[in-house]
């Protein structure tokens, strides 16, 4: 058995450097500015603003005055904290970052994840959504990677949930069921709630409402959707149809994120060969409100470690 020698190691470092450089060049040519996040976040402030983040997964440190700090568990928070309070009206910001985040694994080890991300702030128009979605295609095409992006619009499920009249706790349970795509739990959920026949039919088919846009559109014709869900689907349709590389985009109407702050288009990206989702993002205007002001915002995060792995395989 031979292990990695010095030259192999350097080759890996070189590929890493090239991937990062290509990404940064592409994105700064599009007019995005690099943002360096701070290393530490105040523990209490972070927990207050990110209620669903698991506290035990954060790497905590204590400062000289006894204040608890965390090694940045995410970059968007740091960005929001530094930018939103200084927000000037009518500005449009294009920002990207390429840094490491820290978390504790279930086994207790410290994990580092390389994240490359893009945020477009101050523009709530359809064109902003399209700009970000097309950027994703450009990023993957840069390395000739075989990818698929799952897309949905959070307002579709919001519409379904409003028809069900769920309270906060039930909503979070419902989303968790969809996150795991658990047919068993979903059907059990339907049984316990008193749901109209129309809605029951829609819920029972929810997991099969995924695939190409035209197919989903056909399938939806047999369901009675409320206004909110209809509007959401139409918004999604308009966007997908206007994309450069639309055959890469698969609709998944049961798509949910681990974070609650998305409102509007939502997506998740996969690379053939890689075993994790490598990209996630969406429109997250409600998050900015936590930092003092509601500003239109959309962005994505890419796990560059996974991309580098695949680039090495494709070579």
């Amino acid at each position: 058995m031979t292990f990695l020698n010095m030259m192999d190691e350097l080759k890996y470092q070189q590929t890493k450097f090239q991937v990062n450089q290509k990404l940064q060049t592409l994105i700064s040519n599009e007019g995005y500015i690099l943002f360096e996040p701070s290393f530490f976040e105040d523990y209490e402030a972070f927990v207050l603003k990110n209620k669903r983040v698991k506290k035990e997964r954060m790497i905590k440190m204590i400062d000289h005055d006894g204040k608890i700090l965390v090694l940045r568990p995410d970059i968007t928070t740091s960005l929001m904290r530094q930018i939103i309070p200084k927000w000037q009206d009518r500005s449009v910001l294009r920002i990207f970052y390429n840094s490491t985040i820290f978390s504790r694994t279930a086994m207790g080890q410290i994990d580092t994840i390389r994240q490359f991300g893009v945020e477009l702030l101050g523009d709530g128009k359809k064109t902003a959504d399209l700009e970000v979605l097309n950027l994703i295609s450009n990023v993957f095409n840069l390395f000739n990677l075989d990818y698929v992006i799952e897309v949905s619009d959070t307002r579709f499920l919001e519409g379904v949930m409003s028809a069900l009249k769920l309270n906060d706790q039930e909503q979070s349970k419902f989303k968790d069921i969809l996150y795991r795509k658990s047919t068993y739990d979903l059907n059990k959920f339907i049984e316990t709630k008193n749901i109209s026949k129309d809605t029951t039919q829609l819920l029972e088919s929810l997991f099969s409402l995924q695939g190409e846009l035209s197919m989903i559109e056909d399938k939806l014709k047999s369901f009675a959707l409320n206004e909110q869900s209809k509007l959401a689907f139409n918004a999604l349709k308009e966007r997908i149809n206007a994309l450069d590389d639309k055959k890469r985009y698969m609709v998944d109407l049961s798509l949910v994120s681990t974070y609650d702050y998305y409102d509007g288009i939502l997506f998740k990206g996969y690379l053939k060969g890689s075993q994790k989702d490598v990209l996630s993002g969406g429109r997250y205007d409600p998050l900015t409100e936590n930092y003092g002001k509601k500003i239109p915002a959309i962005g994505f995060t890419l796990n560059t470690q996974e991309v580098i792995k695949e680039v090495l395989v494709y070579e």
Partner: protein, 216 residues
């Protein structure tokens, strides 16, 4: 993940034997020889691979993507949070999660902390947290029924199939927690890239027996 083959991880033992029967029922498992010691069976014609692994390892194989799909009891799924899709409930592997203790004896508590012996510490913790009952968990790897008999714990939490082992040891079910059955699980990336073949397999499995909610 193999490009062309659909790889399925099956648990060794009773649950796996029933799963193999199911797959044979839809014409998918003919390559599996149950009396063989081989751990992997390949069907080149149907482009299928079956792996036989320890039940508690099925999720690890599926999560890592070495296997696209797996069959597992919902008890195991509840215990370990993993990033997996729980695609289809199947009509075998029925049992219940239950709290059991010594028959006819009032649960004696020296203090207000209930001592529970179990192989399922996470499920147990979650269940009793919702009930607001303070507990102490004693994690065991087998023969859990022994614990209350020798005073290691007040009660046990375990899956109960026929109740014979409980009875033989003078224990009885004190409280039923939830139903358990077999599930077809999938790796999320496989589900995206092999959606159609996985969906076809699901449709076939549904025809020979899938449950939504167990009627009892």
């Amino acid at each position: 993940m193999n490009e062309n083959y659909l790889t399925i991880a099956l648990p060794k033992g009773r649950l796996g034997d029933e799963a193999i029967l199911k797959f044979k029922g839809i014409g998918y498992g003919d390559v599996i020889l149950s009396d063989s010691r081989k751990l992997i069976f390949i069907d080149d014609e149907k482009k299928l691979k079956f792996m036989l692994v320890k039940p508690s390892d099925v999720m690890t194989y599926v999560e890592s993507g070495v296997a696209d799909l797996g069959i597992i009891g919902s008890d195991t799924l509840l215990e370990d949070e993993k990033n997996l899709y729980e695609l289809l409930p199947l009509d075998f592997g029925f049992c219940t999660f239950a709290v059991a203790g010594k028959k006819g004896e009032e649960i004696h508590q020296r203090d207000d902390v209930l001592r529970i012996a179990t192989k399922y510490p996470n499920t147990t913790k979650k269940y009793f947290k919702e009930k607001n009952q303070a507990i102490e968990i004693i994690k065991l790897n087998g023969s859990v029924e022994l614990a209350p008999l020798v005073g290691l714990s007040d009660v046990i939490v375990d899956i109960v199939e026929t109740g014979k082992t409980l009875k033989a040891n003078g224990l009885e079910v004190l409280e039923t927690m939830m139903d358990v059955s077999a599930r077809l699980i999938s790796n999320p990336v496989s589900y995206r890239f092999k959606y159609q073949i996985i969906r076809d397999l699901m449709d076939k499995l549904k025809k020979v027996g899938s449950i939504y909610v167990k009627n009892n």
